[in-house]
Symmetry: C2
Subunit: 371 residues, 2 copies
């Protein structure tokens, strides 16, 4: 993987870069839709391409449990298995072990847990996580970390940061440099000094990129932005910065302003399946009765497949009738919205008008801009 | 609507014809996928076109209840509402009133029933059915009939046939000849003389086509084929014959041999969602563990979107993981299989080799051919 920054905003920390991988190149800041189980829910790889998606994320925890990383390896890795030819990033499995599985037992070796599917017992440590991610064959893989619950006391988070550093070192040792980039994950909860400790330790080890984990776990937006701002200052300027699990469109705009390069979140896809659609003017709840005879597309300025073919009235009907097509059409729109938002931000940064873009972004939604 | 037969098999009653409508022309024998609620479940209009679908069926009962025929009329009729530019046939609503709704009360005026969605009370008679179907704007509409339960005693079916004829006449009077073709529906259960009575009465009235209703309701295949054979002889040779609710691939082959021109059935779409896929060699249950590492497509000779991109192993994984994409990819394959089967049969008829085609159809599945 190669990363280079080719434009820096004259107004803020925002920057435009390019990441080159064996499966294609893309510009940053970039948003990665989540393909939890080897499928971005409700859409096909072609739908993703048409919506402008350039890189997707897949969850190691889910794929390890079903169908199994070895099965996927024998079927040509994730790229071959799901017929997605573009770049892929896999997470380490850690986050889902903590959030989904039962009876977790964390030790220095790793985590013993029970599958959320059938209760079977499993173990993942840093070595296993890297082994699984090698088998899956993503272009970018993540170090195995401990994501402390929020809120957690200082002592707990301190130990969590130490464990994360130990594991990060073992992940680096396990990596074999065959075309997979490895990112370290900065932890430290909302404690500035622990974030700093985590960042410094990881930077000393030298990763291909740095992620901020343990965010969007219940903290308020102000705290989140403070942690991001403080941490980015400690990371090398020539490596991509990835904020995991973020976020809403407003979060993306704020984080891009702070210099974040990569994002992932289930929000565009999950909201689509719940009938919440994103537009320039804000969120739309498609089941609202006011749309029952509305011939207009979701967003009259949107160029997505859904908006170019179907009315709000039809989409409302599909959603009310629980038709499967509703989930696909809504997902295509929300993904397009996210991809378009990222492209607009990159363009605004290149043209040194990001502050104006951000102002308009909020104004269109009738919101106050926090300067 | 225009219908002309342009090739008759030299071997059997099978024939190839063409139906011209305001929304496009198609050859018969034709299979119509079912778009119950204004969507062929799990696929888009583009998916239908790519699978070779030329005409779809929509259910008046469902669309009357939700979102309402008047709403659809204001939104440009079914064609505009669901963005399907090809021909559409709507049923009369009768079948679902009998099979889905509660507290039915049938009189000469029509049927009072309770919605299966919210229990609200409604009335449909022949006049209402035609009014609803005019609003929906399909190219081919169906007369409102009574579909007797199976089995029913002779007296019940006799009265049902008389009521169906009375209603058929009222449907003809209600029709306004603005480009919508109206088909009569022959009833009569499994009683040959009642089928004959129904057919003669409807033919005397003069419809644009004739459907055989009250089949695939639990009778055995032999009885069904006997009823179809006997009834087709009584219908005018220059009008299309449509067997409603049929059927499995074998049913289509047998009925085409008997001279049937049109079919509809939920089988390809419903089976797809249940993980049953059609291939030349028979049915495949995709969740079977034997497919867990099978890199081959569903059917190596299939040209569908799904088979050209995805392995059995991936489709099995999607199905086991309940991923929404599974339902779409399976549905695309099954629809393509059905469309391809119909196209192959039309070609075989044109080339006077239908008997041989039928023989091969069964042989590939390892089945005995009943001559």
């Amino acid at each position: 993987m190669e990363f280079r920054v080719f434009h820096r905003s004259g107004e803020c920390r925002a920057r435009v870069g390019e990441i080159k991988t064996a499966h294609g190149d893309f510009e940053t800041p970039v948003f990665m839709p989540v393909g939890t189980q080897g499928s971005v829910k409700a859409v096909s790889p072609d739908d993703l391409k048409h919506a402008g998606v350039e890189i997707i994320l897949a969850n190691t925890y889910h794929l390890y449990l079903r169908p199994g990383h070895k099965v996927i390896e024998r079927l040509g890795g994730l790229h071959g298995f799901m017929n997605w030819s573009g770049p892929i990033l896999t997470d380490s499995g850690g986050f889902q072990v903590y959030s989904l599985s039962r009876l977790r037992d964390i030790s220095e070796a790793g985590v013993t847990f029970q599958s959320h599917i059938d209760g079977s017992r499993h173990f993942i440590g840093p070595e296993e996580s890297i082994e699984f991610q090698k088998a899956l064959g993503a272009d970018i893989i993540m170090a195995f970390d401990e994501c402390a619950p929020y809120p957690s006391d200082y002592e707990y988070v301190l130990n969590s940061v130490k464990l994360t550093s130990t594991w990060a070192r073992r992940c680096l040792e396990q990596k074999d440099n065959q075309g997979q980039a490895l990112f370290g994950v900065v932890q430290g909860g909302m404690y500035s000094d622990l974030r700093e400790m985590s960042a410094r330790e990881l930077v000393d080890m030298g990763f291909d990129g740095y992620a901020l984990g343990g965010l969007s776990v219940g903290e308020d937006a102000k705290t989140r932005l403070r942690v991001i701002t403080d941490t980015i200052d400690l990371l090398p300027d020539d490596k991509p910065v990835y904020v995991m699990g973020v976020g809403a469109p407003e979060d993306l705009v704020e984080c891009v302003m702070l210099g974040v390069d990569m994002f992932d979140c289930v929000m565009p896809t999950r909201n689509a399946r719940n009938g919440t659609l994103f537009t320039r003017k804000g969120r739309m709840t498609i089941k609202n009765a006011r749309y029952s005879e509305d011939k207009r597309p979701i967003d009259e300025n949107c160029g997505c497949y859904t908006c170019s073919r179907f009315s709000r009235a039809y989409l409302r009907h599909l959603f009310m009738a629980k038709e499967i097509l509703a989930y696909r059409l809504n997902t295509i729109h929300n993904l397009y919205y996210y991809m378009h938002l990222m492209a607009e931000m990159r363009q605004a940064i290149k043209e040194d008008r990001f502050a104006g873009y951000r102002y308009n972004f909020y104004e269109l939604q009738g919101k106050e801009v926090v300067v």
